[in-house]
């Protein structure tokens, strides 16, 4: 192997930290630069590890129902169901999710941080009305045989979750879907990377990528120039702005999510819950997290009366015990969205040394272990550990061209056009 170039990772969210960690593990000299902008998705994530749930739209019921409403199905009794993410991404998420038990131990050893990986009862998609049943059955039928799921009666739901409203009519349990503390996960990746030799520059705003012809030569941070033979764009919702400084178009846009966190409560939930208006999960320190809106409103990181009202109303309907519980805080974050809801990873724009690591949308946390690995493989020139072609930017058109793996087959992911219907903070 030829001499490895110094690599600069821009963005200290969970993806940037995971990529830095994987590069450091490979002894590639790496510098992580983080501006610490308010509103990063990692800080506003629920930390749900719901690979199947997210892939089929059940992870966040709001998404499922928005798709459901837009599919206009029931007229002729034919069920289209929500648009599931392509199998290649579902498999990617499942594989990434499988890394967590081992990763938690590895990161604990290197960073002394407990990422609060908590295998609970799983993820329950709550069926609130009979009218939802046909769609749910359609979705579950389409799952591959390897997926462990169970259709629950109202009694079975009540046994698993005694605090749930008795008005619900059933549920679907995905027993392999758990949770983690997203901020500690990012922090642990970063600490572990530093332990392995990575360098870290906090509170530094990268103002541009510097290129010489078709090569990346480093990044600019105001008056400062940081030389590097490779640059990883892990700037999350802000990734398009960074790409633009290198003259590249990147179809990533901010998708705001507002969330509500209650005060610490005694054990109230055993599983993560997904409903038509919110999802609910109890975190390691006892707070119940209520998420999340899905809004296209630029880089505004505020909260709105309508957004949090709708989340709280949905939460109280599902879990009446929450009504008198105090709220500890409400806030929002910006997910890096793409029109087909798949991440954008790897080389792009014919620019040598430039790599994308963004577009994680709702799945950045669960996808982070494998994303880190895949991007590090691109940077180091290793052979890939998994199918990664579907995530290249050039799926959006020839102007986004990256270097495809020679000899591998184009899996030809078709962009989903359902994204616009997901603007659904009802």
């Amino acid at each position: 192997m030829s001499r490895l170039p110094d690599c600069i990772v821009v963005g200290g969210g969970v993806i940037g930290c995971a990529v830095t960690y994987e590069l450091a593990k490979r002894s590639i000299p790496v510098l992580l630069v983080d501006q610490s902008l308010p509103g990063r998705a990692t800080s506003a994530s629920a930390g749900g590890l719901w690979p199947i749930g997210e892939a089929v739209g059940l992870g966040c019921g709001v998404i499922f129902h928005a798709s459901n409403a837009s599919s206009g199905s029931s007229a002729n009794g034919q069920v289209h169901g929500p648009d599931a993410l392509p199998a290649v991404f579902r498999d990617f998420l499942v594989r990434s999710n499988a890394c967590f038990p081992e990763l938690a131990a590895e990161l604990q050893a290197l960073s002394s941080i407990d990422i609060e990986y908590a295998p609970g009862a799983g993820l329950i998609f709550v069926i609130e009305a009979e009218s939802q049943r046909a769609f749910v059955e359609h979705v579950t039928r389409s799952l591959p045989p390897s997926v462990d799921y169970e259709v629950l009666s109202p009694e079975a739901v009540a046994r698993l979750e005694p605090n749930l409203s008795r008005d619900i009519v059933g549920g679907v349990l995905l027993s392999g879907e758990h949770q983690v503390n997203p901020m500690l996960l990012a922090e642990a990746f970063k600490r572990a990377a530093i332990k392995l030799g990575a360098r870290f520059r906090p509170h530094l705003a990268v103002t541009g990528i510097r290129r010489q012809g078709d090569r990346v030569v480093g990044v600019e941070a105001g008056d400062e120039f940081l030389p590097g033979g490779a640059v990883v764009n892990a700037a999350g919702a802000w990734a398009a702005k960074l790409a633009a400084t290198a003259g590249m178009e990147l179809p990533v846009f901010p998708v705001r999510g507002q969330i509500v966190l209650t005060e610490t409560m005694p054990q109230t939930l055993n599983a993560c819950l997904s409903t038509s208006s919110c999802y609910l999960l109890q975190k390691a320190h006892g707070e119940v997290l209520i998420g999340s809106t899905t809004e296209h409103c630029g880089f505004d990181v505020g909260v709105t009366p309508e957004g949090i009202h709708s989340l709280c109303r949905g939460a109280v309907r599902t879990l009446p015990i929450l009504s008198r519980v105090g709220i500890k805080r409400v806030w929002s974050g910006l997910r890096p969205g793409t029109s087909d809801e798949l991440p954008i990873l790897g080389p792009a724009g014919g620019l040598d040394g430039y790599f994308n690591a963004t577009g994680g949308f709702r799945t950045g946390i669960v996808a982070s272990p494998l994303t880190g690995r895949v991007v590090a493989e691109w940077v180091s020139g290793e052979s890939p550990c998994c199918d990664r072609e579907a995530f290249l930017a050039d799926r959006f058109g020839p102007q986004f061209t990256g270097t495809r793996d020679t000899g591998s087959q184009d899996t030809g992911t078709q962009g989903r056009n359902a994204a616009t219907s997901h603007n659904a903070a009802t």
């Binding site: 610490s36 005060e263 320190h285 505020g302 939460a315 929450l322 105090g326 805080r329």
Partner: protein
């Protein structure tokens, strides 16, 4: 959503003065306060049954408060006063999320004056979580609004002239005040004396307190800090040590007071959450208590139409607060077209002149009572420093050493500031520890990000439609207001 032309948040001296100025200009301001009665911590009126001549100070400041209340009463028919009403967040720049007796509302203000006041600063020390340890303001409130003494024997400690005010009130209420412990050394106080002559009436007032306390045989001790409170179920003894000009305690110069109450605070911290939520640009001024919004000459913040007045914009006391409130009220009225430029300038001029003189006097006091780094050396490794999350000094220092050298990272690492008080209690100390250990300035460390709600609010409160008052109170572990009691 309800719309109003002028909304004022906080009904202490600054908010009341702003409301009077606006009503005088012909506007009908809306004044919001979370307490049951107006007046703020300083002029709040006790319930009628508790009014007692003995507990009321008879000085010039109190007379000024009575005069302000009188002027307020005159204009009150032109105002909407919402007490027991909390602004729990600000959406955008001027939309207030409000929770009160009428349920939940969103109020859009064309012009918004924020007068949130300040809370007392209590840096952690061993034993500070014992029952019987409280702030002077907390003790004052018990005497003034509840008519109860917090105990029989009290030591009053910390820094600032407020200690003397409370000492006199507690003594008059029947408590034995075993002493006032002031961190500022006698030498420093004497050096500042000539510059305090700038405002002889205010200086005279301070000396009046000192003389009356002396006559009542309350010892005033300077150049000392509290290093420990001891007791099992409640405080029994307080250990005090001589300190250097940086307020580092000298272990060889210790003595012990036997008390059942310790009232302690090192000045005040501006309640900066509302200006922060409104998006105002903030700056750190140690002498004014911490992070405060940047303002122009008329109290307008960096956000057009958002004004700040009183201690919330920099701790400077009731007199400055009142003038700043008047100024903001005049300027906002001018902005709304209720005052023409000539009238505005005529009304503004004497206020600006008076403020200028008051601020020069305050600057000497503020310089004198600024927080010194020695206070960060008082806690021991097992001292609880974040009361909400029960974190010890050692745990926080480990977090800092592991890279938690900004408040956001430290919060993620240790959960410091993630509790019910939202970091109000612990950030001033935490920021100073980070500064001490990392060599960063507090400006670089930055303010703690504010996340609503301010104060108790339940999931049910937010689940209900606006304007519905069917309220079950939030089960809250604490509130963002005030200090430990």
């Amino acid at each position: 959503m309800i719309r109003h032309r002028l909304v004022i948040v906080g009904a202490g001296p600054a908010g009341m003065a702003a409301a009077i100025a606006a009503a005088d200009a012909g506007l009908e301001p809306v004044l919001i306060d979370e307490n049951p009665r107006i007046g703020g911590q300083i002029y709040r009126q006790p319930p009628a049954t508790l009014i007692s001549k003995e507990t009321e100070p008879t000085n010039r400041a109190a007379r000024r408060g009575a005069e302000l209340l009188r002027r307020f009463q005159v204009q009150s028919s032109r105002m909407t006063v919402l007490t027991n009403t909390r602004v729990w967040t600000i959406f955008g720049h001027r939309q207030l999320g409000v929770q009160g007796n009428q349920g939940r509302e969103t109020i859009e203000a064309e012009q918004l004056i924020l007068a949130p006041g300040a809370y007392e600063y209590v840096p952690p020390f061993p034993g500070w979580t014992l029952p019987g340890v409280m702030t002077p303001g907390g003790a004052q409130q018990m005497v003034k609004t509840m008519g109860v003494c917090p105990g029989k024997r009290v030591l009053i400690a910390g820094t600032g002239p407020f200690l003397l005010v409370v000492a006199e009130q507690l003594q008059k209420a029947g408590m034995e005040v075993v002493g006032v412990v002031e961190a500022i050394t006698t030498a420093e106080a004497i050096r500042a004396f000539p510059r305090l002559l700038e405002h002889p009436t205010l200086l005279g007032e301070g000396l009046g307190y000192l003389n009356r306390l002396r006559r009542a045989r309350v010892p005033i001790n300077r150049g000392e800090v509290v290093v420990e409170a001891r007791g099992d179920a409640e405080v029994r003894e307080v250990v005090v040590a001589k300190c250097d000009p940086q307020w580092r305690g000298d272990p060889s110069g210790q003595r012990t007071f036997v008390v059942d109450t310790l009232a302690i605070a090192y000045g005040f911290v501006p309640r900066a959450q509302l200006p922060q939520l409104a998006g105002c640009r903030m700056r750190f001024v140690n002498e004014l208590g911490g992070w405060i919004p940047e303002t122009d000459g008329n109290q307008q913040t960096s956000v057009p139409g958002v004004w700040v007045a009183g201690d919330g914009g920099g701790v400077a006391g009731a007199l400055v607060a009142e003038d700043e409130g008047t100024l903001a009220g005049l300027a906002a009225s001018h902005q709304l077209g209720a005052l023409d430029s000539a009238t505005f300038e005529r009304a503004q001029r004497p206020v600006v002149r008076r403020l200028h003189r008051l601020r020069r006097f305050r600057a000497v006091l503020d310089q004198l009572s600024r927080i010194r780094p020695g206070l960060t050396t008082i806690p021991t490794p097992d001292t609880i420093v974040c009361r909400c999350e029960e974190l010890t000094q050692a745990e926080v220092e480990t977090g800092i050493d592991f890279g938690g050298t900004d408040l956001r990272t430290l919060k993620v690492m240790t959960r410091l500031g993630m509790g019910a008080c939202q970091g109000c209690m612990c950030w001033p100390a935490a920021a100073r520890w980070i500064a001490a250990r990392s060599g960063k300035s507090i400006e670089e460390i930055g303010p703690l990000s504010v996340r609503p709600p301010l104060g108790p609010l339940s999931v049910g409160d937010l689940a209900r439609q606006e304007g519905i008052s069917d309220r079950t109170p939030a089960v809250s572990l604490g509130s963002s207001e005030g200090a430990p009691t």
